[in-house]
Amino acid sequence: MDFSLSEEQEMFRNYVRKSLADFEGTQVARKYLVGDVNALTEAQASLTELGCPSLNIPEQYDGMGLGALDLVPIYEEAGAVLLPGLMLETWSFASPLIQKYGTDQQKQDFLPKIASGEITFSIAWLEPESSYRPAGVQVTAQGGKLNGKKILVPDAAIADYFIVVARSTEGREEAGVSLVIMPASDASIQPQLNIDSTRKVAAVVLNEVAFDQSQLLGEVDQGWSALQEGLLSFNAALSSMIVGSLDRIVTTVTDYANIREQFGQPIGRFQAIKHRIVEMKMDLETARSLAHYANWAYETHAEDRVQAVFSARIFCTDAFNRVAAHSVQIHGGIGFTEELDCHLYVKRARFYENYLGSTEQYYEETAKALGW
């Protein structure tokens, strides 16, 4: 029995932390927020230098041949500083999907470039007035053309490829949905404003965009189950990203409560503050345990991996909203300003709440996976 990251994994965490420390906390996110992509590019380069994008890619495609658990410390460190960009989507959605469902050609084309940090992927799933359910997918991938409109596509402007969830056979069911890998340059991108400006979103308009068989990821009409598989690795990774944010919030708020004085006492001496921080800490530690286990369960194909991953996601997104809100309150007035980071976490928590799947649906998926 050993429920901890390995020494190597912890060592890797230290490299990542040191590397990100050069960028001064949330500065990369704050710059990206106002449209300055340079800092992000540099931060990404620095992670690439450490080999982060190649970690979970097989050695034959220039990767390190490691797994989901090895990405955990990276995501925790990235989450701590709210690093923008398409890490989760590229490393923990596109990459595992291509590894599992891609053709040899696709693997050759994409995996080495992901490993080298050259390309990123985004996901085009939602459509106007629809939901994450199969019925919501009405963009068509028929007759060699993609047609329709996708919304809330994450960081579309800095993506090289989209994985488009499209309907190859008309209908409202799971069957008939396919995944198409499409160069971002083929689409017309219309930015949408997002409460969390450290993650940009956009509508993607597909007007007779040509594609061929070679761009299909997995079998035609069988894209829905591939999508679900991708969501397992994605949500395990997302959970770790959130754990990193929770950890940073708890550290920051604890420091503040020790320093800030009112009524001649550090505010951390008042149980209203003190015990609330403990509850935040409990949320953090439970989130961490669930997230670590989720990644382990995914990596080892454990029997309970579906419920482990989806329930970790629910807990983490929920805890993130809760903990980020408490942090504002404990900081008081200054926590309400744009100047402090508190609000950046509040906004990112909302961004993730229903990101690539709704809380409601994940509850139901968990219940089903438990056989209820």
């Binding site: 007035e129 009524f263 809100a325 309400f336 508190c342």
Partner: protein, 398 residues
């Protein structure tokens, strides 16, 4: 038990209602202006609105007639709040002057001060702000450090204030300073009626988490005041502060009615917003959450009415105002957090791309975080309720 308004109160309501219909800017009720909050244009608009209110006799209804008020009853004030909330009237740029400074001056100001300030407060000629909070004096108001030192016949003031609403538009400031640092914390405080238009006063905007600018930092570098600008006695300002807070007769009535309105708007949103073609209000979880909000917001409204009834009978509001504040502010946060969740994946859309025009829900959600901090944090309200209403022991350090 009687929830009706008297015919006189209803007549008063109709009078105000028709005045508002005539005097509000065209299209205001349907979405307001598109004025930027921190622009000069917005300031002029607000000043203009206050002048209009004054011209119509609606700027300070609770004031005695001799100062230009209507000598309104508590119930008339309630009606006033209800109608103002109903039409979403523009904020009162001179709220501090009208509801805090002038009543205090009527109560404990000198005759000269009354003559010099009250008329201009009413007309909006002079807009006021308050200088209370400081970086190290938030919940602990008495910990203020801004120092006023007498030199000749002048007071020289140095220090920093924060959370000064309307500070960037204000002509005058009700400023709390420390004039004697050797006295105990609640002693040695003096209140000044400071002129904002002087070299020693600098105002710096605070940008909030919702990106807006409602508050300011005010830096005082050798700012100058005179003896004539002192309210009450030197070193006895704590009493003035307490007296000033007491002049808020109807407590947070406006916020209670606003919450009621916002709840109704949320119901409309839940009815019109669809997911896969089905209105979200038909989802069981949403229904449950909405019923919870319904009963809690009804509860806060009815609690307010009950406390109001007490105030009507006793002539003065009690510490129950802390209960209203705690309930309404926490509930406002809960309501807007729910409003985002209820929008599902669309909840993150912002500004013109949001589900509701001008991202009303997202803006209010972010703004709502300030509700349980400003005007006394929820933790402070709980202490007040525990100590003043329940008779539990005082906290350490207080």
């Amino acid at each position: 038990m009687d929830f009706s308004f008297t015919p006189e109160e209803e007549a008063f309501r109709l009078e105000l209602r028709s005045w508002l219909e005539e005097n509000l800017p065209e299209g205001w009720v349907d979405g307001g202006s598109n004025l930027e909050k921190d622009s000069k244009e917005y300031e002029l608009f607000l000043r203009d609105w206050q002048r209009k209110l004054h011209d119509g006799g609606w700027a300070a209804i609770a004031w005695p007639e001799k100062y230009g008020g209507k000598n309104a009853s508590l119930m008339q004030e309630i009606v006033y709040h209800q109608e103002m909330v109903r039409v979403g009237a523009p904020p009162l740029v001179n709220y501090v002057g009208l509801h805090m400074v002038a009543p205090t001056l009527m109560h404990i100001g000198t005759e000269e001060q009354r003559e010099k300030y009250i008329e201009k407060i009413l007309t909006g000629e002079e807009v006021w702000c308050q200088g209370y909070s400081e970086p190290n004096a938030g919940s602990d108001v008495a910990a203020i450090q801004t120092a006023a030192v007498k030199q000749g016949d002048k007071w020289i003031i140095n220090g920093q204030k924060v959370w000064t609403s309307f500070g960037h538009m204000a002509d005058k400031c009700f400023l709390v300073t420390r004039t004697n640092k050797f006295e105990k914390k609640h002693k040695g405080i003096t209140c000044f009626l400071l002129d904002m238009h002087q070299e020693g006063v600098e105002t710096v905007p605070i940008i909030q988490m919702d990106g807006e600018h409602d508050f300011n930092e005010v830096y005082l570098n050798d700012a100058i005041a005179t003896d004539a600008e002192i309210v009450g006695e030197v070193d006895e300002g704590w009493r003035v502060i307490i007296a000033l807070l007491m002049h808020e007769r109807t407590g947070i009535g406006a916020q209670v009615f606003t919450l009621e309105k916002q709840f109704n708007e949320l119901v409309e949103l839940a009815k019109t917003l669809k997911e896969d073609g089905v209105p979200v209000i038909e989802k069981q979880m949403v229904r449950k959450n909405m019923v919870d909000l319904y009963m809690k917001s009804r509860g806060s409204l009815l609690n307010y009415y009950r406390n109001l009834t007490k105030a009507l009978k006793n002539g003065q509001p009690g510490a129950e105002g802390s209960m209203d504040k705690l309930l309404v502010s926490e509930l406002t946060k809960e309501l807007f957090a729910n409003s985002i969740s209820l929008q599902g994946h669309q909840g993150v859309l912002w500004k013109e791309d949001a589900v509701a025009k001008d991202s009303y829900w997202q803006d209010q959600y972010l703004y709502s975080f300030g509700q349980t901090i400003g005007g006394g944090t929820s933790e402070i309200q709980k202490n007040t309720i525990a100590e003043r209403i329940l008779g539990l022991p005082k906290d350490m350090g207080r």
